[in-house]
């Protein structure tokens, strides 16, 4: 090794040792005849000391070092005069006797500090320098730790990690596939997996009993801030289980991760039906760090002269505790917030409960004080509270009020990133109507689409509805939600050929297409498929949640930008005519 110690391990117990260290020059403090350099590696920082009076040559050489030079030094561990309690090596420094420059460095395009001056684009282009910053490296160390603890937990429960293939078959009934032209089978394509779903089910048919994999998946979507074309899943499946067994097993896993990685004891996870999540939070992934549940006002506010409420399918509101003193300006901001196109409410009605118990609303001319008191009672609003009400078509209004609720939660400081509130959302609908989702092939519009995926088992008691009211069928499907983020979801699967065929029929597959795309799975169900179910957790999101960040990007070593580009390696890129020709493809233009 080029070193005898790392930059993070020397303490006063090592005083008087001759040591060799390697690392990067973090910063230099030059005080006339005395000079100090902070030497950095992944493990920490060690202070190097130079005295021009006693060692002029080596001090001169030290002065020639610039930021981010890679050096090897030899020296003696000595006690520091002014100790630094903030770092592990703060009691000592190295009196350097020899410096070897292992590599020089140009001045980095941004500072390698916790708070950098580099903009997003620059940091993406020089990602290898951005990764040098403590803040980013710690995210990836956290990711490493989460992966280890995930494996520890699952290994103990006898789950086997099995690698499933990356070059599979295109089945574009879900999101768009990335495809790979085959050179050996021209005109044919592999696809990259959106998840190992069918393979893990086949492993259950094979009797593997308990499977897991921390695995890359791929989805060719138009990207949003927290989506990446390639992402990582903790993918799991179990045989001979019912929904309750899976909830217990993976609730245990989440608890284990919080305990071992963050030292937090998470209480038993509450269960909430999808219907209740929509009714009380307007959201299938409610942020339950704070209450502020929706209250349905239809029975209270209708029949007066306020046409907006009278005409609305839904009149629903929330009560923001202690926000009665919001100024006109703040209320206008909230109105603007809900009227933004991506939220789409037409207006916002408010009612303040003043300190004296009187109520002041934006619709005073339609509602008497007495009627407003009924509103306050419905919300259990106290003096100092602010009631915010939206009206309109149910689904749209729920969605808008959900956004407003989250906004108020943020404004009132109720969404502490160091507080964690987990729950299961259960009883999801099996299907949803695809009006024309831009993330699906256009040819799939105007059909039922599987809310989870086509392999999810409907609830037995809803089975007959498949023929009469498919949208009302509930699934044996569940999501795990933490702080308003869906970190995972799963279901009990279909393990019967006839039911699986029926499901494809409901989804608008012809018999031939179903057989062509998923025949192997339906065939497998005829050879003794056990009852089974599973779950997949979004690993990138889990990491960002544990790291207290909003974006997954800084928890991925080499992420892509919103156009799916890697700005560092400049990918995707053109390929040669020779390559295209060998693959038997041409560009359209």
């Amino acid at each position: 090794m080029l070193r005898t110690f790392t930059c993070g391990e020397l303490t006063s117990a090592d005083i008087n040792k001759e040591v060799t260290l390697c690392g990067w020059v973090q910063r230099t403090r030059d005080k006339g005849t005395l000079l100090w350099i902070d030497l950095r590696d992944r493990y920490g920082i060690t202070q190097l000391f130079f005295d021009e009076t006693s060692a002029p040559e080596i001090t001169k050489k030290a002065r020639s070092l610039s930021r981010e030079f890679v050096i090897q030094i030899k020296g003696l561990v000595i006690e520091r005069e002014s100790k630094n309690k903030n770092i592990a090596t703060g009691d000592i420094e190295i009196k350097v006797s020899d410096i070897k420059i292992l590599n020089e460095s140009k001045t980095p395009p941004f500072t390698i500090e916790d708070e950098t001056d580099g903009g997003d684009e620059l940091r993406m282009k020089y990602r290898y320098l951005d990764l040098r910053r403590n803040a980013v490296r710690k995210n990836l160390e956290l990711r490493h730790r989460l992966a280890i603890e995930t494996r520890n937990y699952l290994d103990k429960l006898k789950f086997l990690e099995v690698e499933t293939p990356v070059l599979i078959k295109s089945t574009p009934e879900g999101a768009r596939d990335f495809v790979v032209p085959s050179r050996m089978n021209q005109g044919q394509f592999y696809a990259l997996p959106q998840s190992p779903q069918t393979f893990k089910q086949l492993l259950m048919v094979s009797g593997f009993d308990r499977y897991y994999q921390i695995v890359k998946c791929f989805r060719d979507e138009d990207l949003r801030a927290d989506r990446q074309p390639e992402f990582t899943q903790i993918d799991c499946e179990m045989s001979f289980v019912e929904q309750e067994d899976i909830l217990q097993t993976f609730e245990g896993m989440v608890k284990h991760l919080f305990k071992t990685v963050k030292g937090i004891d998470i209480p038993a996870l509450p269960r909430m039906s999808y219907a209740d999540a929509m009714k009380y939070y307007g959201n299938d992934k409610p942020d339950t760090r704070f209450e502020m549940k929706f209250v349905d006002l239809n029975s209270i506010v209708k029949g007066k002269e306020f046409k907006v409420f009278n005409d609305a399918e839904a009149v629903i509101g929330i009560c923001a505790k202690g926000a009665a003193e919001y100024t006109r300006k703040q209320l206008d901001e909230l109105t603007d917030f809900v009227k933004r196109p991506q939220i789409g409410a037409t207006g916002l009605v408010y009612a303040r409960v003043n300190a004296d118990g009187s109520i002041k609303s934006s619709v005073d001319k339609f509602y008497s004080e007495e009627e407003l008191k009924k509103w306050a009672a419905a919300f259990n609003a106290q003096a100092g509270d602010l009631i915010l009400i939206l009206a309109g078509p149910t689904e749209k209004t729920q969605k808008a009020l959900s956004e407003l609720r989250l906004e108020m939660g943020t404004r009132l400081g109720l969404r502490d990133k160091n507080k964690f509130s987990c729950l299961w959302v259960i009883d999801f609908p099996l299907l949803e109507w695809n009006e024309g989702d831009p993330n699906l092939l256009a040819s799939l519009a105007g059909r039922w689409h599987a809310k989870h995926h086509p392999f999810t088992s409907p609830k037995l008691e809803d089975f007959e509805l498949l023929n009469t009211d498919p949208g009302a069928v509930r699934a044996n499907a569940y999501d795990i939600v933490v702080n308003g983020v869906e970190i995972g979801g799963g279901s009990i699967r279909i393990h019967d050929r006839t039911l699986q065929a029926k499901m494809f029929e409901v989804l608008g597959f012809s018999k031939e297409d179903a057989q062509k795309q998923f025949g192997f799975l339906m065939d497998a169900f005829e050879f003794g498929a056990p009852p089974h179910g599973g779950i997949a957790l979004g690993f990138d999101r889990l990491c960002s949640l544990f790291g207290g960040a909003d974006s997954i990007r800084d928890f991925i070593a080499f992420p892509k930008n919103n156009s799916g580009k890697d700005m560092m390696i400049e990918s995707p890129s053109e390929i040669s005519e020779e390559q295209l020709k060998e693959l038997g493809i041409k560009l359209s233009q």
Copy 2:
């Protein structure tokens, strides 16, 4: 859970317990009024017992079950009359009180037994049934265990597992890339990584210090029996190290794996130079389970009237201990073996050392007994040994003799799959001349090609030869070889922009091409790149080696065949016009 115990855990300690088990019907033994069924799951087999006299109904139901039906049974654990010492549950059986059929099964296309009657093609098509066989499942359990122990070892040494991207950039200077058309950036392509090489080097530039990943890699090659288009690597990199440090670290890993997974203590790994490996074994991955080293006969056999030897660049041989009694027929077989086109020798000369010390050779008319005794002395051949000699151009003859040596090793029972002989081969050449390798793009023929990869550091002392005799430059590169299989290889990397640029020049890159393809890496070297090196181990091969098998295929859950096809899911396959259009590509015909 649908069961209270698995089929592998009940013992005499559980007698009189009421239990519920789930599993597959392995076989039925019907002895008139008494009936036994073996119930199978991943964990083992439990015997079910039925007595028609006391329980006619349930026995009748049991008789209706066919092979591979999935059932749930309830019953009482009782002591077996005739115990089976070969299985963990052999002391007990279950007196069944209730059977529930969870799923029926058609008759499988082959028997689900350790020795199956299914051919390769059938087993690939019904891979999910093949995976039910103990033999195959145990391979994947071994793989799981190897992955865990690999992580355990590396975690302890502070290696961080970091995921590198799968959608990267095509750099077709190595083997052919699989490419992925970008929908969002039409006319451009991602490539799937042949290895995370450049990314792991960038992680070293980032100061990650110690990296590993068990990672899928991709190579669009014409496939041989033990190659797959997607394969798995244990990929590692370390900073501030010299070659010796890497050899020590990963020798430790291999020892750890042998110890923890197979209970075998492996002695310190010998080191052999590439030059010696070629000289003594004609092979850069010598099988050192047996000696049978090459002996150079040039100085002994020339100058007589045997033209074949006189004209040959190389005359080399091996001594097969105890094979002197080989019959004429056996010797003819060996001659045919070396004359096969894929080996390509023109003939085989032999000399037997008889029990009485006399020597009988196939070239008696050219060589006297006295001369033949010199041969025997050169091989240190004893009575009963058989000397086998090939002659011809050096490289070709070494290769042919290597094959003959392995063949003789096999015939003489010297290649026991349960014996392991590991070594390091070091000092590889940096470059090799590409005459027109079918696994490379045609446009790369007639150039130097990097033997390891273009990022491998040449030995400092050979540096000047880069300009004068590139083929003679040795690299800081090393392979780890076990039983004649290269299970991994690596090198100390270039960490200097100028040297890296020089390397690309030698490999025939224009400055522009080098910058376009690898500019990001050369740029990174200018910002304080530390000295670093690493290794990658072929995980599939490691598994097959530990499993005592020749092919990697049965250590991969869902392998592809020699045409790169997955016969089970029928992939690759055609994709729709709609998909092609969205991707901006067309088929050539």
